[in-house]
């Protein structure tokens, strides 16, 4: 026992001594790595406390509410009644919920695929563009990305306006497409989701493009050059070299896009006010709002929100596991 102690003791003292004897102007602190100890946990502590407070606590409240009969009277202090799984049973047996869920999944899939394809193409283009044009493109995309979703929806809504919109004007007056005179873009659900999709993809492409562009700059040139010398064309080089290199980035960006698009609210909600038929265009995020906030059924809305969270989490976990598997290989 004592030998072990002695064996350990000198190390820190030797280290201390070294510091005192040779006070270098730049101590190589960050490179030092020590396993164990309380320091990492102490550093994580504040973040965990804040997360627990601002994310964990509301989440627990949400789960509790989803097991209760919770209406506006309860908001003003009436004691809620526990109904356990009744809210969930109501939601899961409601055909409206399944319609909304199916619509949301299909719409999300379309938006994510289009966003990723466009984002990749723009990132590849940025690699080729001369610097001034790349700057111009980056600034343009940054502006699109920085625009609040509500503002974007209102502006796009004006462009697609039935009576005064520029889209109808151009189609009728420049291209002679008379059927677009006073054409409503939102009244048909498919066309509604086309407009909503344009707004969402327009806002999401910059993030995908920037992230992928950052990744592309890290693909070693010599590998690409070697492949080119071996006769690999552009498509082949992308498929066999660039894509495998960037796979983790693709996965991360895709997960984020799926999460953002699955719970999209602002664009759909604002667009429904401009036009269209609500019953045929509601997605999950808007449905939760309709049931809980507008309809005052906080318990039922909570149940839908919990189900959505579970759905999002299972998608995320699947993809994160894929990513970590890739990294281990």
């Amino acid at each position: 026992m004592t030998t072990v102690d002695r064996g350990l003791d000198p190390a820190p003292s030797a280290f201390e001594g070294e510091r005192i004897m040779a006070p270098t102007p730049k101590p190589a602190g960050p490179r030092r790595r020590r396993r164990g100890g309380l320091a990492p946990y102490a550093l994580l502590g504040p973040a965990i406390v804040i997360l627990a407070l601002i994310t964990g606590w509301p989440l627990i409240q949400l789960v509790i509410t989803s097991f209760q009969q919770f209406g506006r009277a309860q908001v003003f202090g009436a004691p809620p009644e526990w109904v356990w799984f009744e809210n969930y049973a109501n939601v899961l047996t409601d055909p409206v919920f399944w319609d909304v869920l199916g619509r949301t999944l299909v719409f999300t899939a379309a938006c994510v695929v289009i966003t990723m394809v466009l984002g990749t193409l723009i990132a590849l283009m940025m690699m080729r563009l001369p610097k001034p044009f790349r700057m111009l493109l980056s600034i343009g995309m940054l502006l699109a990305w920085a625009m609040p979703a509500l503002t974007a929806t209102v502006v796009w809504g004006w462009m697609f306006d039935t009576a005064y919109g520029v889209v109808n004007y151009v189609l009728v007056n420049w291209f002679g497409q008379e059927q677009y005179f006073q054409h409503s873009w939102l009244i048909d659900p498919l066309s509604f989701f086309l407009v909503a999709g344009i707004i969402i993809v327009w806002g999401a492409v910059p993030f995908a493009a920037f992230t992928l562009y950052a990744g592309l700059t890290q693909v070693p040139d010599e590998v690409l050059e070697a492949a080119q010398l071996d006769g690999a064309g552009g498509v082949k080089r992308f498929r066999l070299i660039i894509f495998p290199f960037l796979k983790p980035i693709f996965l991360i960006v895709t997960i984020l896009q799926i999460i953002w698009d699955l719970r999209v609210f602002t664009q759909i909600f604002a667009l429904q006010d401009i036009g269209g038929i609500r019953a045929l265009t509601t997605t999950l995020g808007v449905y939760i709002y309709q049931v809980s906030i507008a309809g005052g059924e906080f318990g039922q809305g909570g149940a839908i929100a919990v189900l959505t969270a579970i759905l999002l989490m299972s998608i995320s976990i699947y993809y994160i596991r894929q990513v970590t598997k890739e990294e281990e290989l």
Binding site: V75, G77, A78, A163, Q182, Q290
Partner: protein, 420 residues
């Protein structure tokens, strides 16, 4: 009117109410700040200033602040703010939204102040809207009426005169649309369901009627169907408005000449006549050409129109309930309410009806307000509005859908919510 809605639930917070009411009174009210929430821009600046000045004069040391809210999302905002510890003291709420809060215990019981606030002189329909379970929670603030605005020259050019019956009104609209291709004889965007209610009511139909403890939705009754078919006729033949558009900014079409007639709340007059350099520009040069009348009923006289308007109450969580009630008394004073009347809004008191004046608009307002009706008085009506069932119904009707089938579907949806 704007987004008005109702909701309501069981009254249970009586204890909270009593606790707050007694807790706030006492000598500690010196130097208090009373926060008043007014919604939208309807209340004129003159009235706001009068309220602040009078309150601060009568209650030295205390101040009154008016915070303007928007109609969009008002129910959500009131739900969160009235239940929180930082509740405003006096709040305006749409008349059909009131029961969501009176029934939930969000407002202070004002029964003992009823006579002080105006008593039986207050607009009866609005007193009813602000009462729950035999108690008086929210006083009337003002009422608006829906009027028909029209271009005098267009009516004249088609050889028409102001209609005296609903059928004549519809025929006029169709003729105007036929004489002026591409223009709306009656501008009617599909989401604007408030304007459809008179057609249902005038034909003897109802949206929903109480049936014991349940509600019986009536949109597919023969009478309602007759009204809905007229609605479809107007939307198809007389209106060139977007079939799925909403009713905001009616002045745009009126000013660019594509709208010849439209039915809208009385204050739309001021939107139309707004200066050209205003944030929402109007066309003041149309003043001489702008005519107005009350929507005529099926058998003449004024039609039964939707009675939009506001109630005003004191938050149950107000820190200074006695001062808040004093502010409420000023708001319901003859002086304050007269300012509403002079600005084209129906005052909360019957005795002040003549403050509206005697011009064309005033007469039309008086005629319309005298025959106004409300949406079903169910605490859950706001849920029907929140689900957008009526907006969807009329967008589908505007598109030329099968009225009977659509009405039956809407009835089923409405009953599911009201009886759910």
């Amino acid at each position: 009117m704007r987004k008005l809605g109702i909701v309501a639930l069981g009254a249970a917070a009586a204890l909270t109410l009593a606790g707050c009411a007694s807790g706030g009174s006492g000598a500690s009210e010196d130097g208090a700040e009373i926060r008043v929430w007014l919604v939208g821009t309807d209340t004129p600046d003159e009235a706001r200033q009068y309220l602040i000045d009078t309150f601060e004069e009568e209650n030295p040391g205390s101040t009154l602040v008016i915070e303007e809210q928007s109609w969009d999302g008002l129910v959500d905002r009131l739900t969160t703010s009235l239940s929180g510890s930082d509740s405003p003291d006096v709040v305006e709420v749409g008349n059909t939204q009131a029961s969501a809060f009176t029934s939930a215990g969000a407002f202070l019981d004002l029964t003992e102040y009823y006579d002080q606030l105006g008593g039986d002189d207050l607009l009866p329909g609005f007193v009813e809207a602000g009462s729950y379970d035999g108690k008086f929670y929210a006083a009337p603030l003002y009422s608006g009426a829906r009027l028909v605005f029209y271009k005098k020259d267009a009516l004249e050019a088609s050889g028409l005169s102001v209609p005296t019956t609903l059928d004549e009104y519809i025929a006029n609209g169709e003729k105007l649309a036929a004489d002026n291709p591409g223009k709306s004889g009656i501008w009617w965007p599909g989401q604007d369901w408030y304007n459809a209610l008179p057609y249902i009511w005038e034909n003897g139909g109802e949206v929903a009627v109480p049936d014991g403890d349940e509600w019986d939705a009536q949109l597919s009754s023969d009478e309602s169907i007759a009204g809905l078919e007229q609605v479809q006729q107007v939307m198809t033949n007389a209106s060139r408005a977007p079939k799925d558009g909403n009713e905001t900014s009616p002045e745009v079409g009126f000013c660019d000449g594509t709208t010849l007639q439209l039915s809208a709340p009385s204050w739309v007059k001021w939107s139309i006549l707004a200066p050209e350099d205003a944030e929402a520009p109007g066309c003041p040069d149309q003043e001489a050409n702008l005519g107005v009348y009350a929507l005529p009923g099926k058998d003449g006289g004024a039609a039964q129109v939707f009675a939009g308007g506001s109630n005003i109450g004191v938050s149950a969580k107000s820190a200074h309930p006695e001062l808040a009630v004093k502010a409420l008394e000023i708001i319901l004073s003859d002086e304050f309410q007269t300012i509403y009347g002079e600005n084209g809004l129906v005052p909360a008191k019957l005795s002040l009806a003549d403050t509206l004046g005697t011009d064309e608009v005033a007469q039309a307002i008086a005629a319309a307000a005298g025959n106004a009706k409300l949406t079903p008085a169910s605490p859950k009506w706001a849920d029907v509005e929140a689900a957008g069932i009526l907006q969807d119904l009329f967008v589908n009707i505007a598109q030329g859908g099968d009225v009977k089938a659509l009405a039956e579907q809407a009835d089923a949806d409405i009953e599911a919510i009201l009886n759910g």
